[in-house]
Subunit: 347 residues, 2 copies
Amino acid sequence: MSTKSPLPAEIVPTLADVAQRAGVSTATVSRCLNSPNQVHQKTRKRVMAAVDELGYSPNFSARSLAVKRTNTIGAIIPTMDNAIFARGIQAFQEELGRSGATLLVASSSYKPDLEAEQVRTLIARGADGLLLIGHQRDPKVYDFIDRRNVPVLVSWAFNTDQTRPSIGFDNHAAMKAMADKVLEMGHRDIAVISAWQADNDRARERVLGIRAALRDVGLDADNLNVVETDYSIEKGGEGFAEIMSAYPRPTAVICGNDVLAVGAMQMAQTMGLRVPDDVSITGFDDIELAKVTTPALTTVHVPHREMGRRAAQHLWRMMGGALEDESQCLETELRLRGTLAGPAAAE
Amino acid sequence: MSTKSPLPAEIVPTLADVAQRAGVSTATVSRCLNSPNQVHQKTRKRVMAAVDELGYSPNFSARSLAVKRTNTIGAIIPTMDNAIFARGIQAFQEELGRSGATLLVASSSYKPDLEAEQVRTLIARGADGLLLIGHQRDPKVYDFIDRRNVPVLVSWAFNTDQTRPSIGFDNHAAMKAMADKVLEMGHRDIAVISAWQADNDRARERVLGIRAALRDVGLDADNLNVVETDYSIEKGGEGFAEIMSAYPRPTAVICGNDVLAVGAMQMAQTMGLRVPDDVSITGFDDIELAKVTTPALTTVHVPHREMGRRAAQHLWRMMGGALEDESQCLETELRLRGTLAGPAAAE
DNA sequence: GATAACAATGTAAGCGCTTACATTTCAATT
DNA sequence: AATTGAAATGTAAGCGCTTACATTGTTATC
């Protein structure tokens, strides 16, 4: 039986309650929690005991209002539904946790308006830093961010003619390498299934990479058949069906990501087309999905975990006030697997 | 050129700035933002103009300190790396967005200590409600939550002998149905690859379901070979190798989830075993991965999106003060695909 | 033993917002 | 024109915390 006054039943204890119980001022309690070595060990012990007894935990809103920092980082990704983002953000969060920051994630479903709104929301919620995917967005959004003086890091893209710092990879070069390879295998009739390009600089860069590769070997890049659609297995299948229902049929279909490619593969099977004998298919991202199909998908490996990790470190430094203006370009890598082969000898 | 005073350059505008610029009191501005119909249209227009001109957006910390609500919901899931959670939480978030709440996600990596810490963090950050996966956790954690009076909803599990409200499915029954099917196909030598059971009530329930099925047909449930491991493709493969290196080899391997099952399938291929001719393999969850393997994976379909959606609605109602004590049990469904067949005729 | 220097603690003023209550304005009614 | 009630707005007291500054206690130095 304690000699202390009984614990209040319902209400959430505040700093003042702890202070009273420990017989000190609120300032001392605060110091105990934030810079313990500023307070005498004896009092500290007493205060900590009170904290425990009351089950006190500081009110985050009050704290951040007072210090004008939230230790929160906001990230806006297109979707959680694609493993590449889910896992990238997981790595980002793990690294962030190490620094003691919390992550607030929002997903925009590839919609610029939604993304803009979420930027506002996250900043209003006091995000001290922002992670965004891709460079492209309404200048007004950037204005707003700059006005608030919130450091922003762009990821998933790297582009030398962008001034904002970014941790990403060169979508153009990565996809060009894939297209080079496809051409090298002898394909001359190529079609593309891409995400909608209008609002998506990564998708656009990838298609441009393919066109550049075509141009390099003297092919007509302007009449490349590009089908645009949503990123989903189903849509990938529909896109593939559309492409293969026209003549002449391409001998290779380059897909904007693995999800589309897997959809294409399934549709190929449905249509009775053998991969890669009748048609080659390539992906982009190298998520698990790509490794378990039969045959396994030839794709571009994106170091998503490394990207997430580095982005976290970089952004954290930016938030610390470091003028980290330089960007980092990570290496992607061709993963040659079973879905890419030469075009059929007999046409 | 405006007749108004020039905009301040660096500082973030506050309510007071808006009030001054619009020539009203802070109270009026606040009302404009929160209950617009309480203020005269003329002044409202003036205030909104000031808001726009200054690019004002309210300070979340200050607001929640004043109203003692954050409109934030915390969710702690085991991992983002498994699509089943990533997608469930995506659905949860989408539904939440409709109500105007924000989601704060943390992942515990299946570690109870980490989870407990995250509960504290989320509550300290003012989460008005909490979504947790599975019932099992240290009673102290529940004590802490109750003390703070934060509504909690459990998901991914449904269990009539738990008192906490939950939106989930019956792991025991779902896995028993799968085991029933496997037995019905004639298998008598069965092995299991499961997640670690100690801290994971869902995994445990699933294994119990298998044992119950065995018992139903008069088999020895106690000597069932259960290999426990982490949830990953690689570990699934290792577990499978371990199982198949012992004699007598089972004719069917039931896996605790799809990720393990896919790992098992890959290892089977490596070992030169044909699925399902030499060995049947089953999964649980029915994520995309299960549909793209060859043959496609026989698994238990979990309505993860529906679960996320309903959980959001339920939790939102609980936060509104509704005494929503009843739970919901969603239906799972066997998805019979290519990896399950009868045991080989010739042994 | 007086003094200085430092360590430990307390006092109180914000941080930006909401809201109960007080005050003013205005239209409707007599 | 006086009265009244409702509508619109203003005033100011918090919400729970941090921290600059003031105060007190303690030890070392001469």
